[in-house]
Symmetry: C2
Subunit: 197 residues, 2 copies
């Protein structure tokens, strides 16, 4: 794998735990670098998710198609985030979600069949993953609270403040889907917000 790409991952991990040079080399020898084009799928609903992926560059959406064929966006992932269908990955059962690239996207992929070896070789990784998943879980719980206690307009304003970088890169109708509202209603909210100031 290209040295400088791996370094981005190591920098990220070293914010949580400190790896020795030997551990760093072991890690980089086991993970896989891959680049996807805009529109390509990293995971498809129904497949078994074989990789947990760290995003080096680009942007993905994780979404779910319901029985009526409606798309519901669960999350976006950009640089320094993770993407995959974790439920499918940890249980090796068919994925509920699709993960699709909204831009050319570079990833470092952690294959399922080596991740146990990796934990055995580098126990610190167990701690690292525990810590980032704890953070993700807390964020997810907070999103549930927001979905119940805030209006659509409030949720949009929150999203815009929290993820200013994401908003600019993504079409409005996908943001509407992420917020759980229609694109028409988001359009109305935006024009109200403009009128307000």
């Amino acid at each position: 794998m290209i040295k400088e790409k791996g370094q981005l991952l190591l920098d990220y991990i070293n914010r949580y735990v400190s790896l020795t040079e030997e551990e760093e080399n072991t890690l980089l020898s086991k993970v896989v670098y891959r680049s996807y084009l805009k529109g390509q799928f990293i995971v498809q609903q129904g497949d078994i998710c074989k990789y947990e992926c760290f995003v080096l560059s680009g942007c993905t959406k994780t979404f779910y198609i319901d029985d009526e064929g409606q798309e519901h966006i669960v999350m976006f992932s950009i640089e320094d985030w993770w993407t995959a269908d974790m439920g499918s990955f940890i249980t090796q059962t068919p994925a509920d979600y699709n993960v699709q690239c909204l831009e050319k996207t570079e990833l470092i992929m952690f294959p399922y069949d080596i991740i146990e070896d990796l934990y055995a070789a580098i126990p610190k990784l167990e701690r690292f993953f525990r810590q980032i998943i704890q953070k993700a879980f807390v964020a997810s719980q907070k999103r549930i609270v927001r979905s119940f206690s805030l209006s659509a307009k409030e949720r949009y304003v929150y999203f815009r403040n929290q993820y200013p970088k994401i908003e600019q890169r993504i079409p409005q109708y996908m943001i509407a889907s992420y917020l759980g509202i229609t694109k028409e209603f988001l359009s109305k909210i935006k024009s109200e917000l403009i009128a307000e100031q």
Copy 2:
């Protein structure tokens, strides 16, 4: 700590990792057993959450009071589940949530200041917690999807099927709060469901 109480925790942990007898003894010597009465608070909004708690018996609700004074229930916890404000616990910052007992509740508490020692003494616990948090995160993501893609009636039916034990122990108005609807609307849903069959 009472031997048989500790055994419930060990049985639970041993479903994920296998502890040696020495590790089991170390663990039980560090955690704290405690019983709360109905109505008592385990965590209060604004406090720093000092314990991650395993529920031996009883039932708790985790909730958030919004700016308008409205209560929003984030989760219920019963036997063999965990309860706390994890966000507050991991960052040691003021809690967003309250955790209150809906019945007499027995807990095993993992104090914040010993948890690092515990990970050091029993590295398997790191793996154990990683695994249960992964599961919790996946469940949380699925709940977000349901909150967007299902109607209130569908969410209620799902809840009833998923947690039949919880429904019987808890007043309707709390279930309404958990589902993100008013108690009046839940009452309407229930009478519709009765009329349907």
